[in-house]
């Protein structure tokens, strides 16, 4: 039945890789990183289009690549379905032909019947006679997906499959993928540079940077609890600061400029340790000007408002804290809260940082240039 894809890759060049990940049957894992991080190389290695120096790639009982044994199966002998970023449809074949050709050595009639079923599955029924150049970008993507499924793959690989379509189409295709994957029992690996897309679609996300996999976890955990400042930056954390542990144990305190913040105990960071820390913009609580409330003794921060960025239902408010000069704290509020409290640039503001939401990390080594 559904088998787990296990990947460990290592090579020095031309694209350095040190990647490790696994995807269980029925699971959708997003491999996320900036451009040039090696995401596509990992995908190509799994498909057999790139031979890494060392490592092992196995799916269930079948070993596809084993550097130690000098084993590297050809792409034809790995049961992968790969959707290319450019789709790479065969331009001289119809939508139906593109799918039927990937079905191996079955009788032609059977291939066509099954290809029609797959076209229905990706909501392209009736367009079987169209050539790729007669299809829209979104339709081409669906044909590419159907073609990838045509050989009954044991692993489905998607390389930035939504990058080349407009946003409305992207949303639609994302919803369709979510519905489709319920019918598939195979591991799905999605490569994307879009954090939001990964958070919406994936069960787990793996952060990759310069060919190295840095963190693997549920999207919510990776986004709220990055393992390092590097991962925090790669996942676009707005509030990334440096501080120092001042007291440990049950009375653990974090020194941030002139402030001493209450935080949950973390035994691995004894007093005196320099740390980096983050807090999600939604984990800061606004002090109402009119009605003082309970939690206001929890890590109060006073400052002045830098800007108010309205994003529709929520707004991002940046704060220059008086006690931590140079730092900029960003908080997320509902727009009606912004309006009710008349928050505007230059105005004073007071917030509380929820102690349990303050996430500590060791500081990175010497900064690498990006």
């Amino acid at each position: 039945m559904a088998e787990t894809l296990e990947v460990a890759l290592r090579q020095r060049g031309p694209i350095p890789l040190d990647a490790r990940l696994s995807v269980a049957g029925g699971e959708l894992v997003a491999l996320v990183g900036p451009s040039g991080a090696g995401k596509t190389s990992v995908l190509r290695a799994i498909a057999g289009l790139l031979a890494p120096e060392e490592g092992r790639i196995a799916c269930g009982g079948a070993v596809w690549f084993d550097g130690a044994r000098g084993l590297a199966l050809a792409p034809q002998r790995r049961a992968v379905g790969l959707v290319f970023q450019s789709y790479a449809l065969f331009p001289h074949l119809t939508a139906l032909g593109n799918i039927a050709i990937a079905m191996g050595a079955r009788p032609a009639a059977e291939r066509e019947d099954r290809a029609r079923l797959l076209l229905d599955l990706v909501h392209l029924g009736g367009l079987d006679g169209r050539y790729p150049r007669e299809l829209s970008g979104g339709q081409q993507q669906r044909v590419a997906l159907a073609r990838a499924l045509a050989r009954d793959p044991k692993v489905l690989l998607l390389d930035e499959p939504f990058a080349a379509v407009d946003q409305v189409t992207r949303r639609k295709l994302q919803r369709e993928l979510t519905a489709l994957r319920r019918k598939l029992a195979v591991p799905i690996l999605l490569v994307t540079h879009d954090l939001e897309e990964a958070a919406i679609l994936a069960d787990r996300m793996v952060i990759i940077h310069r060919g190295r996999t840095l963190q693997d976890g549920r999207p919510r955990d990776v986004l709220r609890r990055p393992v390092s400042p590097l991962v925090a930056r790669l996942t676009d954390q707005r509030n990334l600061f440096e501080g120092r542990i001042e007291a440990a144990g049950s009375e653990t305190r974090l020194r941030w400029g002139g402030l001493l913040l209450e935080i949950a105990p973390r035994p691995e960071f004894p007093a005196g340790t320099p740390v980096a820390w983050t807090i999600a913009p939604s984990d800061a609580i606004l002090h109402s000007r009119h009605r003082p409330s309970q939690g206001e003794r929890e890590n109060p921060v006073e400052g002045s408002i830098g800007e108010v960025l309205r994003l529709g239902e929520t707004a991002l408010v940046t704060i220059a804290p008086h006690a931590a000069p140079g730092a900029i704290l960003t908080i997320a509020l509902s727009e009606h809260v912004v309006d009710r409290n008349a928050l505007a640039p230059g105005e004073p503001i007071k917030v509380s940082l929820v102690a349990s939401a303050i996430h500590l990390m060791g500081r990175d080594g010497p900064a690498e240039p990006d």
Partner: protein, 224 residues
């Protein structure tokens, strides 16, 4: 009046050359399109040589190799019981060499124009290298291949220098239309020269028109 023998000889020579050279052009052109190796530029330069050399220079060296005194020419004569130089077989051999770039280059361009991802998509769709070649690459490269056929055919009809050096002008054996025109003009037989010239002009025009039709981008032909 029309020297049908010479015209037929030219057409036969062109057909043989195209038929023998195109398979080789597909193998060489595809390898040059897809592979990277150290001596690639040297090999490409060697293939292009017949384009830039005066045909007499090419003919001179071919004669040096194929002549009855040369080792290769002797070996051929011993094996097949007939000499290579000043025979139709020798003409075909010389024509093959002189036409290599006209076959290889358009075919190489045609294979180069296929996106690498298309071939990779064929492999990840489970197609064997042979099926990928027959069902994906050939159908996508056929315009370039057909273009190579037409170019080789037309260029062989017009070849003069190499043919004269290797074949001389033996009627029915090596006197092609292009040579016959020169002969007729030398003999002040303008009518015969004119008839053959008109025939070659017509063939060249048709061939060139076919070439342009083949080169037309796909999008201009899309229906609807």
């Amino acid at each position: 009046m029309m020297d049908w023998t010479a015209l037929r000889l030219s057409l036969e020579l062109a057909a043989w050359t195209a038929a023998l050279l195109v398979p080789l052009g597909i193998v060489a052109g595809r390898a040059l399109a897809h592979r990277r190796f150290a001596a690639k530029s040297l090999i490409e330069a060697l293939i292009a040589m017949p384009l830039v050399l005066p045909p007499t220079v090419l003919g001179f060296y071919l004669l040096a190799v194929m002549g009855r005194e040369a080792p290769f020419g002797r070996a051929f004569e011993a094996a097949f019981g007939q000499p290579l130089a000043f025979t139709f077989a020798g003409l075909v051999a010389a024509s093959l060499i002189a036409n290599i770039p006209f076959a290889v280059q358009p075919i190489q361009r045609a294979f180069e124009a296929i996106e690498p991802e298309i071939r990779e998509a064929a492999w990840t769709s489970g197609l064997s290298p042979l099926r990928a070649f027959l069902e994906i690459e050939l159908p996508l490269a056929w315009r370039g291949i057909a273009g190579g056929v037409v170019l080789v055919f037309a260029h062989t009809l017009g070849e003069f220098g190499v043919v004269l050096m290797i074949g001389g002008a033996i009627p029915g054996e090596t006197r092609t239309a292009a040579i016959a025109i020169y002969d007729r003009v030398q003999a002040f037989d303008d009518a015969a020269a004119g008839a053959l010239s008109a025939a070659l002009l017509a063939i060249a025009f048709i061939a060139t028109a076919v070439l342009f039709a083949l080169g037309r981008p796909l999008r201009e032909r899309r229906r609807g």
